[in-house]
């Protein structure tokens, strides 16, 4: 599993772990992200149970597990949360699990004994060491309750599934998007089908546009920096999403044809 340095200023660091060659090919590739400030660390979307050994193995090279006081889960999916009980085994007993309030009793299916810090729908700010982090709503993008994490000091946004890309194996050289125009093809299918609400998308883009963002780091695929941040927001704003609706239409047409003939 590779480790990428996203941001570093003194003891304030953002790291991403991913692009793992040992990962079973049947499971989706994920970025596990870590933010440290002083002697406090938060793991963001720590990943599914299948990749726990590899993530753990890579993480200890960079951080002291004893400093992991927080785990953040952007939403309830298995590739985010299914290793929760294992993470609680290897982090301090006092670790706080931050997750959307809507999903607490669902994620408890992965670990009924975990104590959660539910994030209310409108989001909340929290202090990590000497930095302030903001949990920002990303509901319906794709999950009906989801959050991003914004770090104003690093000007970095961890965006969860927003900005995700499905890249062919062996095509990644770096964590950063090299050519935005080329990268669009890898993002389009995911966003058109997984993101369901144009209204939520518009509200999210408007909210993010009000922030100073230099980097957007999604849970899958590559991260955006510099001008690509604006390019990404513009591209997302103009994309037709919620294409699953087409399945209703085609099925309804089929049912109508059958009832005519039947």
């Amino acid at each position: 599993m590779r480790c990428f340095k996203l941001f570093s200023a003194g003891d304030h660091r953002w790291l991403a772990f991913g692009q793992d060659h040992e990962r079973p090919t049947s499971i989706v590739d994920t970025n596990q992200v870590v933010v440290c400030s002083g002697r406090t660390t938060m793991i963001l979307d720590p990943g599914g149970i299948e990749i726990f050994p590899m993530v753990m193995g890579a993480l200890v090279h960079q951080i002291d597990m004893e400093t992991v006081q927080h785990i953040f889960m952007s939403h309830q999916d298995q590739d985010v949360a299914s290793a929760l009980s294992l993470w609680r085994q290897v982090t301090p007993a006092s670790v706080s699990i931050h997750l959307p309030a809507l999903w607490t009793s669902y994620i408890a299916h992965f670990d009924a004994d975990a104590k959660f810090v539910p994030i209310p729908d409108e989001g909340v700010d929290m202090r990590l060491g000497s930095v302030q982090l903001r949990f920002l709503p990303a509901h319906y993008l794709h999950s009906s309750a989801a959050f991003c994490v914004y770090d104003p000091a690093a000007r970095l946004l961890f965006s969860g599934d927003i900005g995700a890309a499905e890249l062919p194996e062996g095509t990644r050289r770096d964590i950063w998007v090299a050519d935005f125009a080329d990268h669009v093809a890898a993002m389009t299918g995911f966003h058109r089908r997984y993101l369901g609400s144009p209204a939520a998308r518009d509200a999210w883009v408007e909210m993010i546009s009000r922030l100073d963002v230099d980097m957007i780091v999604p849970q899958h695929g590559l991260a955006f920096r510099g001008d690509d941040v604006r390019r990404f927001l513009d591209w997302l704003s103009g994309l037709a999403i919620g294409t699953g609706i087409e399945a209703y239409r085609s099925r309804a047409a089929l049912i109508q044809r059958e009832s005519r003939h039947g």
Binding site: I49, F52, P53, M54, M56, G57, V60, H61, I63, D64, M65, E66, A83, S85, L86, R88, Q89, V90, T91, P92, A93, V95, D111, A112, D113
Partner: protein, 258 residues
């Protein structure tokens, strides 16, 4: 799930207590444990399904014995023997009710088996993580993480030992349950035969007593079928459980100590 690992007392210098080689030996045994737990599940499930009707049949038999007692009362002196037999039937019903209340033990056994599978899964991932840490060049943080993983593994191994003991205990209890139902079936069948014999001498009450005897025979037959199915499932579970315990004992060898 047991408590999270504590980091207190884990120092930079602390060496991992388990080498990758030992973990690999462990994994072979745990794989065998997992296979054997998986073998138990379908048998327990079969027994569980078979026992599903037990509470209903107990209630049917209880109502039948009440009706039979009323009929015996109406028959006066000619119903004395039937009355005694129905009181004895109520004793059998109480035994069945006790058992059907304990039938939740079947569901518990199913639950313990699935918990054991979950523990084995977590254990496998912890061991993978330990191997990852053991084969790479790690610093103090890595060594401490490995020590914490070792502790977590030790807790999980205790869990799996407890769960296997629970599976063994649960299976043994089920075997007792099947034996008791078998006794009840045999005794209820004798009562049905005796009521049929009393019916012949009951004059105008013959039809009434015969109906009781026939209904009881039907219930007894249903009980017997149910218990036979449960017993078949349990025979398989007991055999698998014996093998499971033998395999699990390998974990307690001194060279496997965590």
């Amino acid at each position: 799930m047991t408590e999270s690992a504590q980091w207190s007392g884990v120092t930079d210098e602390q060496r991992p207590t388990v080498a990758a080689g030992t973990i690999r030996r462990y994994r072979g045994i745990l794989k065998q444990v997992e296979i054997r737990v998986r073998l138990i599940l379908p048998d327990v499930n079969r027994a569980n399904r078979a026992m599903y009707r037990l509470a209903d049949l107990s209630e049917d038999l209880r109502i039948l014995s009440l009706n039979a007692e009323l009929a015996a009362g109406r028959a006066g002196p000619r119903g004395a023997a039937v009355r005694a037999l129905t009181q004895y039937t109520r004793g059998l019903v109480r035994r069945l009710v006790d058992i059907s209340e304990n039938a939740s033990g079947l569901r518990q056994l199913y639950g313990t088996s699935t918990s054991a599978l979950q523990t084995l899964r977590l254990l496998r991932q912890l061991e993978e993580a330990a191997i990852h840490l053991d084969i790479v060049d790690i610093g103090g943080s890595g060594r401490r993480a490995l020590s914490v993983i070792d502790r977590s593994r030790a807790i999980k191994l205790q869990d799996i030992t407890t769960q296997i003991a629970g599976i063994s205990d649960g299976t043994a209890k089920l075997a007792v349950m099947v034996r008791v139902v078998d006794e009840v079936v045999s005794q209820a069948a004798s009562i049905a035969t005796n009521i049929a014999a009393e019916a012949v001498m009951a004059g105008s009450h013959e039809d009434e007593f015969r109906a009781v005897s026939e209904t009881m025979s039907r219930y007894v037959e249903e009980l017997r079928t149910m218990n036979d199915q449960a017993a078949r499932g349990l025979r398989g579970a007991l055999e698998s459980c014996k093998n499971l315990l033998q395999t699990a004992n390998l974990l307690n060898r001194p060279e496997m100590a965590v």
